[in-house]
């Protein structure tokens, strides 16, 4: 006998999988928002690429009553004026658009490459980590020699902080979405051979300097302003948020990064970082932005296929390492 599931009143409609296209779920989020989701809850950048393909197609469709979209990992939140655009019409439009982006392989995603200088294991994040040990948790297993970077090495089976830095610089970081706080990027490694992971702080850290960069799970974030935080810190970069818009990079708004940007770390010393930060605020520093190249999904997927054995080998190394390491 088929199992009878209770009706899901939060779901407006679904589109079953067809060929390589994942299933799509359309959910109510009140009378002004709709949440679209691809496939199951797995971390798969190809889902994120497809979200950008759909986002682009939706914005070009010019459907009347669309207000804004929030692309995320495997979902997109859509704000619409339901007095002008009935939900049914919006869902029908979204379903039709799926046909126009039938294969994620064919997508070319407009993407900027941004080089950000990074002082690894810098003195500013070190100061806040030391405060954490002093005032919040004396026996924090994720702090050695006053920083988190050795813990990141041990947790991933890497030799030392130098190897962590090598891994972080060996891949571009894909900004899958922006959110939580204005301008905060959620970034993932495009080259999975260098996909390090870490657990988060416990309890969270009450202080983090502006521009600090950290990793939680597989995700790397830059802190746009000084704030509490839970990610393991590994360095500090230049401002990605400036209310006073003191640099041409902030001319349109105070937020530097956009979803679908690719970030590359360029190692610098604390002194060099400090000098560049001063130039940023003086308005003389030019952010190194190459825009818009596009990310060709087909060649990217081919690349993923080619590195599979190496990725599997690193994952085995990580799995072994985790057994020896305390979780915060």
């Amino acid at each position: 006998m088929p199992q009878v599931m209770p009706r899901n009143r939060a779901v407006i409609d679904t589109l079953p999988a067809r060929g390589a296209r994942p299933p799509v779920t359309y959910r109510y989020a009140g009378d002004r928002f709709l949440l679209l989701e691809y496939g199951d809850m797995v971390l798969d950048l190809t889902m994120n690429f497809r979200i950008f393909g759909l986002n682009d197609a939706l914005k070009r469709s010019g459907v009347d009553g669309l207000i804004e979209t929030v692309p995320a990992l495997r979902s997109m939140l859509i704000q619409y004026d339901s007095l002008r655009l009935p939900t049914r019409r919006l869902v029908d439009t979204l379903k039709q658009l799926e046909e126009t982006i039938a294969s994620v392989d064919d997508l070319n995603i407009p993407s900027r490459r941004i080089e950000l200088p990074m002082a690894f294991e810098d003195r500013w994040t070190r100061a806040d980590i030391e405060r954490y040990v002093k005032f919040t948790r004396k026996d924090a297993p994720n702090v050695s020699n006053g920083h988190n970077i050795e813990y990141i090495a041990r947790y991933n089976g890497l030799r030392d902080p130098e190897e962590v830095i090598h891994y972080l610089c060996a891949t571009e970081w894909w900004n899958a979405c922006i959110g939580f706080w204005p301008g905060l990027p959620f970034m993932f490694p495009l080259d999975p051979r260098f996909a390090i992971v870490t657990p988060k702080y416990n309890p969270t850290r009450p202080w983090t300097p502006e521009g600090a960069v950290g990793i939680g799970g597989p995700c790397v974030a830059i802190y746009p302003v000084a704030s509490p935080g839970g990610y393991q810190l590994f360095g500090r970069t230049i401002p990605i948020f400036d209310l006073q818009q003191r640099n041409p990079a902030f001319k349109d708004n105070p937020i530097l990064l956009k979803a679908a940007d690719r970030v590359q770390w360029v190692r610098v010393t604390d002194e060099a970082l400090e000098a560049i930060r001063e130039q940023v605020y003086a308005g003389t520093y030019r952010y190194k932005i190459v825009g818009y190249e596009s990310l060709n999904v087909k060649s990217y997927l081919k690349f993923l296929e080619s590195v599979k054995p190496e990725v599997a080998a690193f994952q085995r190394r990580q799995a072994e390492a985790v057994k020896q390491v305390a979780i915060p």
């Binding site: 989020a29 002004r32 809850m41 692309p71 995320a72 979902s75 704000q79 922006i178 204005p182």
Partner: protein
């Protein structure tokens, strides 16, 4: 110009619908917590409903006018006076240079009051809006709440002489109490996939207490032991309230671990917890009047069709046809 003599607890410049179009850059819209009272205040003084006006939380604002304008106060009753004489609510009056507005600290029902003047407040647009975003410290008047000594400019013109003596019909004025019923729709993450049907039945029948730790970011309710449909959050984390990060609708109910939090004007735009229900646009204004640590609410489930109908009705209510003169 309005000269601030006392700023009160939190008085901010807001506009409606706030900073729309920046959710994908991580910025919630800000704007008034009670858009009914806010829009009505503007309507009474002849402004566009979204024009910049003041949101005064729990009263305490003391300010002097330096121009001739029409003034309207709406929302919670702060026993306001003009030069010592009691001021009516939901009604526009004339003010002239030198007049002193005083609002007492709120004691009764409701939590926020609104002050609109003809011509509207003149603060710079920041990312397309004049609304104060308290979390990011931008928009409004220098990105912050008003304080003693601030001089808030008014737009030129707009003496408002023809806008004086306009009143919202008495039967349309909201009656704030200690308990509210707030209309919401199920989802995006409800039952049977994230919560159990019993969890959702509880959610829509329970009388929830508003936590004292509530503000323009979130209105917190009490924690509850949910049954949950899942045992964990899969790759997103150990708790069944965890999901892969997604965008949060404005005015959604975010269940963070065991605690439901209504994400309001200055909330987070994206995160990794389920949202089991979302307030409908015609009901969100009631949240702005909830007194933290005292009031209770119940969520009433409505359908999409009902929500659209309510939105149309509300737009009709906040219109010229609801204004009487005298």
């Amino acid at each position: 110009m309005l000269e601030v003599l006392e700023g009160g607890i939190q008085t901010t410049v807001q506009d409606f619908p706030g900073r729309v179009g920046y959710l994908d850059l991580g910025t919630y819209p800000a704007g008034p917590m009670d858009h009914f009272a806010f829009r009505t205040a503007n309507l009474l003084v002849g402004n566009a409903q979204g024009a910049a006006a003041l949101e005064v939380m729990v009263g305490g604002l003391k300010a002097r006018f330096h121009d001739r304008r029409a003034l309207a106060l709406t929302g919670a009753d702060t026993q306001a006076t003009l030069n010592g004489t009691p001021l009516p609510l939901w009604e526009s009056v004339a003010v002239k240079a030198g007049d002193l507005l005083e609002m007492k600290m709120l004691k009764g029902a409701g939590f926020r009051s609104y002050v609109a003047v003809s011509g509207a407040f003149d603060v710079p647009e920041y990312m397309g809006s004049r609304a104060t975003f308290t979390v990011g410290g931008f928009g409004g008047f220098e990105g912050r709440a008003l304080k003693k000594g601030d001089q808030v400019r008014l737009n030129p013109g707009g003496t408002g002489d023809t806008q004086v003596g306009r009143r919202l019909r008495t039967n349309l004025r909201p009656q704030y109490g200690t308990h509210s019923e707030i209309e919401a729709m199920r989802g995006p993450q409800a039952d049977p996939d994230y919560m159990t049907p019993d969890d959702m039945a509880f959610f829509f029948s329970h009388t929830w207490k508003v936590d004292r730790n509530s503000n323009r970011m979130g209105v917190r309710l009490e924690s509850h032991k949910w049954q949950w449909a899942r045992t964990g959050g899969g790759i997103a984390g150990g708790h069944p309230s965890n999901i892969l990060d997604n965008g949060y609708a404005v005015w959604t109910v975010n269940v963070c671990g065991d605690q439901p939090i209504i994400l309001v004007a200055d909330g987070p735009s994206l995160g990794g917890f389920i949202c089991n229900a979302t307030l409908v646009s015609a009901s969100t204004w009631k949240v702005g009047q909830l007194v933290p640590g005292r009031d209770t609410i119940r969520f009433k489930e409505v359908t999409m069709d009902e929500a659209v109908q309510m939105a149309q009705t509300l737009d009709t209510t906040i219109s010229e046809r609801s204004i009487e003169r005298g």
